[in-house]
Amino acid sequence: MIILTILAIIFILGGVFFFTTATIGLLRFPDFYCRMHATGKGDTLGALLAVTGLAIYNLHHGFSLATILVSIKIIFIAVFIFLANPTATHAIMRAGLDSDVEPWTKKEVPK
């Protein structure tokens, strides 16, 4: 069971890492659209990893019908996040375009 705990720790730490980079990206990127890149992607993988880690950790009490059912439910959450997150990102992005938010572009440096 110690292996499961270690696996769970690795997954959750990975999730925390990607959430952190998503937040740093959100703070550092210049405009609305670039920030969507950071949160839309970082959150998807971060949540997937963290939730998978929890599903694995839930099994460390032993494999019984009850714990396996709970783990399956947790995996379902991951699947729904996986489906909903890109769609929501796209919807917010489109709302930005529709309300004419100007995309930031790099000024061309004359050579």
Partner: protein
């Protein structure tokens, strides 16, 4: 046929979510699943009978998922690198291109896949024909325009 399959899928879901195995809860499950199957049997499977195409599409889609997961990890590493880089090497742009995909399901899969792969987000699908995509730098935009992913999606849903 599709009644039976819809019922089995619904009932499996019922068992997973309820986690109760006594006669009372299972009977409740059978009744409500039967009712939902009767009311919405045409939502899950459009056609009356299954065709060989449905099965090949499903198998191809399952093969596509691992590649997509791999792309998602690449995408996150890509964004993480840029976010942590002190000089922040980005050059954002909006690109528009025409797609050869026709079916709704393939447009949806392609749109979501673009959002999940490195450095690009689908902003709009105009008229089911033109994709407007926000790209974080030139390199990822060029990758997208090679059309590799579009071909993969087309292979799943639009080839026999």
């Amino acid at each position: 046929m599709r009644y039976i399959i819809t019922f089995i899928i619904l009932f499996l879901n019922w068992i997973i979510w309820s986690g109760q195995f006594d006669a009372w809860h299972l009977t409740l499950g059978i009744i409500s699943c039967a009712l939902v199957t009767y009311l919405s049997h045409d939502l899950l499977f459009k056609r009356e009978r299954f065709q060989k195409k449905d099965i090949t599409e499903t198998i191809r889609f399952i093969k596509y998922v691992p590649w997509l997961l791999y792309q998602i990890i690449l995408a996150n590493v890509h964004v993480a690198k840029i976010a942590l880089n002190p000089r922040m090497p980005i050059q954002p742009s909006l690109i528009t291109f025409r797609t050869k995909l026709k079916k709704g399901i393939s447009l949806l899969t392609f749109g979501n896949s673009i959002t999940l792969t490195p450095g690009t987000i689908t902003a709009e699908i105009r008229g089911g024909e033109y994709y407007i995509v926000h790209a974080l730098d030139r390199a990822v935009a060029d990758d997208l325009l090679t059309g590799e992913m579009e071909n993969r999606v087309a292979h799943i849903f639009e080839e026999d």
